[in-house]
Amino acid sequence: MVRPGDDGHRLTYFSCLQACFDDYLPDFNVRYSGDRPVDFAAFRRSRDRVLAALAGGGETYPWLVDRDQAWPRVVDSSQIYDYAVSVSMARWREMLNAATPRTQLTKVSRNGTVVLAARARRAAGIEPGDQVVTIPVGPGAVLVERVGSAPSGRTWREFLDSDENPLRGIYGGNPQAYVDELRGPWPESTRS
């Protein structure tokens, strides 16, 4: 038995839900009866029977019916689903936060100025005096990007002529052949 809210069983609980709802969620409209324990393993084993019952109509689903009630009460799955989503969301957020290195907080001033944390700035290769642009990339997220210079502060030509240029010869030495390879052969019958 797995009881919603029981931390020790979150994974099993979620696995059951995953198996039950992944494919059939749009078709399920069952309801869970509050605090009453539900055997989700049985639920999973019996999902084909559920589908058959739904297809046939008029049948009840014994593992989801609160037998203490005078009338068969279909249990509320929206609570189960919401709970499962909240559990998985929390886990997802925890994993993301753990995997994303954070620097110290900085405050946006009244005129919109922010200080780039030194560690992030150095890691991104942005030096004092560099020009940057700010690009909104989503709610609460702005990309700060350096502009105006090639890697290592050299001109692009200096960088491309250096041994550090990883593009040297990479296209095969015949640019037009490379383009023709991607765009296909040029047919003979043209008006040019």
Partner: protein, 150 residues
């Protein structure tokens, strides 16, 4: 004062901006072209880096530039990306106007390949000269052929 390179002068005469096809960018980035050809491309892009000219690149060409690096040497992708994000270089997103223009070029058999047509239609849509290394495309749409300026 040194005389301005003829291709630079041609682009400047057309307003100072140009749309660059894929092959001239490959010449620039790859650095293995014959010296006279490289000199033409360098003259053009030195002015771009100085801010005297503006270079636009069709998203189609940008994708072509990325294909080989992604295929054989992923770290090189960042160099292409960095170049395309330069201050005087811009990538032009496809639009419905470009789609119409490209479709007309292909339908009327002016330019048979859709990729060429998208690049040419992008230049036409922006009202910019097309700088290309493809003689057939340059002749078909009146572009500036790099080899003509060697």
């Amino acid at each position: 004062m040194a005389r301005e390179h003829p291709l630079v002068a041609a682009v400047r005469g057309a307003g100072g901006g140009f749309l660059c096809d894929t092959a001239p960018l490959v010449y620039l980035l790859e650095r293995t072209a014959p010296r006279p050809l490289l000199a033409v491309v360098d003259a053009l892009f030195d002015r771009v880096e100085e801010g005297a000219l503006g270079c636009l690149v069709s998203a189609f060409s940008a994708a072509e530039l990325f294909v080989r690096p992604y295929r054989v040497h992923p770290p090189a992708v960042t160099v292409v990306d960095g170049f395309l994000r330069g201050p005087n270089v811009g990538v032009v997103e496809p639009s419905l106007g470009v789609a119409h223009g490209a479709a007309r070029l292909v339908a009327r058999r002016v330019v048979p390949r859709l990729g060429d047509a998208i690049v040419a239609a992008t230049a036409a849509d922006l009202g910019l000269p097309l700088v290309t290394a493809d003689q057939r495309l340059a002749r078909a749409v009146g572009g500036l052929l790099v080899q003509d300026y060697v």
